[in-house]
Amino acid sequence: MAAAVVCVLVVLLALLAPWITPHDPTAVDPLNAYAPFTGDHPLGTDDLGRDLLSRLMAGARTSLAGPLIVVLAAGTAGTALAVTAAWFGGWFDAAVSRLLDILFAFPGLVLAITVAAIFGAGFTAPVVALSLAFVPMIARVMRAAALRERNLPYIEALRVQGFSGWHICLRHLLPNLAPLLVVQAAIGFGYAMIDLASISFLGLGLQPPASDWGLMIANGQPSILAGFPQQSIEAAVAVVITVVAFTVVAERLAERFGGGVR
């Protein structure tokens, strides 16, 4: 419950950030660099005097949008692949399963870093690469569930009723798989967030002066040596809290739906 509240709060902060940040997240104020925690700067300022609370709030947007796009894309593609494979079975299912096994063996983060290195740093390349890398993770789980579901007698009953494969998949199979998909997406969201933060940290994601959380952790590094670790720590805490909250919600959902299939 508390985790769900945190999730909603983080999402709300991200959505409303442009209107509710106390300061302009990119406004430089060198005289106020490394300002202590005050009423004006509740979380202090960074090496350029930018307000850290405002930067965290603004950073929430890209930090959440990235993983969201990843799970939406990978969830859609993975589920479509899984349901098609389970529905047709035979050599098609075997081929898809082998392909997923091969892709699964290839670490997603490595793929994303390679793609970002080839196509240039930024938001799009790592997100697209990570979406691809997350397809096997979701498709493997969904395929197993779709296969169980497809072999239940009610699917045969629907076939005898004369319904087409499309109708059965879209109106019966998918809705029954939906709870499991939600759980998978919520788990994947946490992983994707860490991976994208890692890529930003490596300098292959968003570039300054953007205020992505992973980037903030990286940018705060020199200041740690100067004795002002607040930027890195605050951004890292933001990532940890968000990831933990989403993962806890995912686990609760998984418990409630029993993995999505009886």
């Binding site: 007698p153 009953a157 076939r159 005898v160 004369g162």
Partner: protein
């Protein structure tokens, strides 16, 4: 004849002969029981007739135009043959929308009618399968099958998963539903004791072959095949004492 099955043969994996030259027929509005123990090939016959399996050889002819709705089926397991996420009403209206030209109001009226036909009422309409008992679910499955207005209803061990008292209710319901709609039954069962209540004719299957056929009265009172005699001997009745002879059937 509504349904003509001729020399039906089904071989699984090129080796196992499940159905071996089976022939039988069901007249329009008639009622045929296919009786046999597990593995006798009776369910495979039913699956071929409903189109869920392809025959290796032989023919299944259904009188008139072959539509998806001509033959409908009620499955053995009432707990899994309904979509757990779908309410009773939605289950029925979905079939009606697919097979009839009724508008929304017409479908609602027809589904209420079907619920009444199977002994349920509007209160059960919004219920999900998990809120219903096994007997109630099987009633829904029968209503769903009848919603397509079939000429032939295949009942594959439709009462086998139910308690004996519920079995009797469902069998009565089937008798009434046939009288009300004129649908023909192909009643697949391992249990001879439920046959005489619902069916006029019977074929007895053993190891993929028909060993005996005739009217229910004939076959039950004067069985000619030794296997049929054993089956009849194994039906529990008052004063029934199991003997070694009977046990060997299974």
């Amino acid at each position: 004849m509504l349904l003509e099955v001729r020399d039906l043969r089904k071989v699984f994996k090129g080796r196992f002969v499940a159905v071996d030259g089976v022939s039988f027929s069901v007249p329009t509005g008639g009622s045929l029981a296919v009786v046999g123990e597990s593995g006798s090939g009776k369910t495979t016959c039913a699956r071929i007739i409903t189109g869920l399996e392809k025959a290796t050889s032989g023919t299944v002819t259904i009188e008139g135009e072959r539509r998806a709705s001509t033959v409908q089926m009620v499955f053995q397991d009432p707990y899994q043959s309904l979509d757990r996420r779908q309410t009773v009403t939605s289950c029925l209206t979905e079939v009606l929308a697919h097979h009839t030209t009724l508008d929304r109001a017409g479908r609602a009226a027809r589904s209420a009618e079907l619920l009444n036909l199977v002994g349920l009422d509007e209160r059960h309409g919004p219920a999900l399968p998990r809120a219903l008992s096994g007997g109630q679910r099987q009633r829904v499955a029968i209503a769903r099958a009848l919603a397509a207005d079939p000429k032939l209803l295949v009942l594959d061990e439709a009462v086998a998963a139910l308690d004996v008292s519920i079995q009797a209710q469902i069998l009565n319901l089937l008798v009434d539903a046939r009288a009300a709609t004129g649908v023909a039954y192909l009643f697949i069962t391992h249990d001879l004791s439920v046959v005489q209540h619902v069916c006029e004719d019977v074929v007895v299957m053993h190891r993929g072959r028909v060993v005996e056929s005739g009217t229910v009265a004939e076959v039950l009172s004067a069985p000619s095949d030794p296997y049929t005699r054993k089956l009849i001997g194994s039906v529990p009745r008052p004063g029934w004492v199991p003997t070694r002879e009977v046990n060997r059937v299974c």
